[in-house]
Symmetry: C2
């Protein structure tokens, strides 16, 4: 008998009828002879409703109380889903994160899982019950309720699959799987049937929204095979697995675009050894992540330092730049939010040279200027003007022939 | 410094503005130099919304899952209330029933409190925090979430006041206190300033809806002084306290009416010693509470047995009567739902004779027939036709001069 962990996102349980459909799907897996653990998100729209109420009451609600509030969403949907399973004549029990024994650190609203005690879930499985777990939540060592941040229910599912040594971890969502590019931009985009953890990680952090990078990291670490698929049909979706030899045949797996970054340029930074380190140490201490960095050629003992950060961190960054200015002296700075980052991803790059050249050429031929470049073993990213973002994605998708199997 | 436990009902926190008002009231008590523990119900209307969703998904939801679902209502309002207190610049923390350490038995949807560990709340009070407790809920020994049934948040408040040895327990509601009669029936009804636990218990179980009998029992057992008052003004409400000598001056404290009972008559029951015992043992085993009982004079070796039960138990009773019929043989039975029970309550009755006579006379003079009577040391109840219920209440209120202080 196999053990399957399934995860259902908010859109999959938005409303009574969808909850009933999910219950049928769960019972289907059970009827097929599997033990089933289903992790569920809050009812679609519920989370936004709770945030709106909180902000009306307090524009800056405390993280601890936000977790107390938000965690009710998943508790609610898990109870309703258990009731729906009961009405199909199957035994089920809903459990909160705390009842499952998901222990986290105390970083409210973005807690990290420290440990999971599998005993309770295992016991319920053993007596034949379907276990419905409230996703996205855990408890800290002081028994405060915590939440795991964006994509938290995915993390709950993957972590449970790891600790329970599940045979499969199915992530049900409102799309059919992971695509070679966003189908809204590239109509020829193709569903990817198999992708490696590394590729998926790059895709996720570069803008593909199907799964959060964090849960993929977790899956990679504990070698949990994942199947991302739609809760609205029975088609196979995308399998996310450990790297396999034959996967290298495809040089590029997909093209992504991210529009959530801004470019920041510090001008006339003294060009002395150790200055860049000081700058980025200051920024890191403000808990701001830097993505790409360029340092211009030095002129007259000063240099320009350009880097990208997530737009939502810009406000925080301004204070930090003032400190930097005081400490080391710079002439000024400017920010630019009208950029996009297009990337090509594929583990085939490891053994195929020339991918960068093809990419740069393709953009150049189309008249798109590349402002910044960063590369890793399995991806190449270029910062361009935001207005050319979709055009660039389409050109690259075509050049790397991603529409063909 | 005094410790005050406050309880706010659902109408007091129905909506953002009311939550803010409650926060102001809590902070007011804190500013006045008190430690404050506030117990809160679910946002008005929330409970019905959750029940509706559950029933749409499963007409017969399991009690355990209902508790899982319903408990989110109070968790939500406690978090929102804590945020509202924060926005007034005061430190507060919300706690679920489980976090407070409210241990119950495992009778889901109507659990009874077994113990409360005061440590967590005491620690939070000590460091100066306002503690906001999600009412109505606890956890069983298997760490399942339980709820305390109707009026459960009152019970949470009273139990916390008892275990914390609070100086006061204030029950905030949408009425000004306990009245000598329902003001919608008797416009001259007067707010009672002080009432004994015993009187309040009788009033509650006889139909006054301000507090559930169960939480009054709890208060009596642990001698917790209660102040029932409105959350919409600053007037004193009704103090519920231990019996005091001077309280006996008022012979009758109030008049109540209950319409939730039905009369059941078993006809031609064999009049043999032990038969009534058999009948009522059968009924008790079905978990149905009998209120009043009359046994008619025996004729030809059989007798009629009449009693009242809560209307909602009638369905359950029918099965039981069939068993009784098989076991001991009766001719038949009839039920009558068109009755009302009017009662007068007052500890003064203990030392004043003639109250019953005044009551019976008053009803007789008005042409109201008394069908059943039951009495205790501090109350007299009469079953009458339901159509005369309001008339009877008005007459009795007048005869016992309850409109005068």
């Amino acid at each position: 008998m196999s053990l399957i962990v399934q995860k259902y996102g908010g859109t999959s349980v938005a409303g009574v009828n969808r909850i009933k459909n999910v219950a049928e799907r769960i019972v289907g897996a059970k009827k097929a002879g599997n033990s089933v653990v289903a992790v569920v998100s809050a009812l679609g729209g519920k989370t936004d409703e709770l945030i709106r109420m909180a902000k009306e009451i307090n524009p800056f609600p405390s993280d601890r109380e936000m977790d107390m509030l938000m965690s009710t969403g998943e508790q609610m949907s898990s109870a309703l889903l258990a009731m729906a399973v009961h009405s199909l004549g199957y035994d089920a029990i809903s459990l909160t994160g705390g009842q499952v024994g998901i222990m986290t650190d105390d970083s409210h609203t973005k807690a990290r899982i420290v440990s999971i005690d599998p005993e309770k879930v295992s016991k319920e499985i053993e007596i034949g019950r379907i276990v419905i777990v409230a996703g996205f939540q855990g408890v800290s060592s002081s028994r405060d309720i915590t939440t795991l941040g964006r994509g938290g229910s995915d993390t709950t599912a993957v972590a449970l699959a790891a600790v329970l040594k599940a045979d499969a971890c199915e992530i049900y969502t409102d799309v059919d799987g992971v695509y070679t590019a966003d189908p809204r931009i590239v109509p020829e985009a193709r569903k990817i049937s198999v992708i490696s953890y590394e590729e998926m990680l790059e895709m996720a952090s570069l803008g593909a929204k199907v799964m959060q990078a964090r849960s993929v990291e977790f899956a990679k670490k504990y070698d949990v095979p994942i199947h991302v698929r739609s809760s609205f049909n029975n088609e196979d979706g995308t399998f996310i697995v450990k790297e396999a030899k034959e996967m290298e045949e495809a040089v590029v797996r997909g093209v992504t675009v991210a529009r959530n970054e801004a470019k920041v340029t510090l001008s006339k930074v003294p060009d002395i050894p150790g200055i860049a380190a000081k700058v980025f140490k200051n920024i890191a201490e403000s808990n701001i992540n830097i993505d790409m960095i360029i340092q211009n050629v030095s002129e007259h003992g000063t240099t320009d330092l350009t880097f990208t950060v997530v737009k939502s961190d810009l406000d925080k960054l301004l204070g930090t730049i003032e400190n930097i200015s005081k400490e080391i002296g710079i002439e000024g700075f400017k920010t630019d939010e009208d950029i996009a980052k297009v990337s090509v991803v594929g583990i085939g790059m490891k053994s195929h040279a020339g991918v960068a050249a093809i990419m740069f050429n393709a953009l150049a031929e189309t008249g798109i200027n590349i402002e910044m470049i960063s590369t890793s073993e399995i991806k190449i990213s270029c910062v361009i003007r935001e207005e050319y973002a979709e055009k660039a994605v389409r050109i690259l998708h075509e050049k790397f022939e991603l529409e063909n199997k």
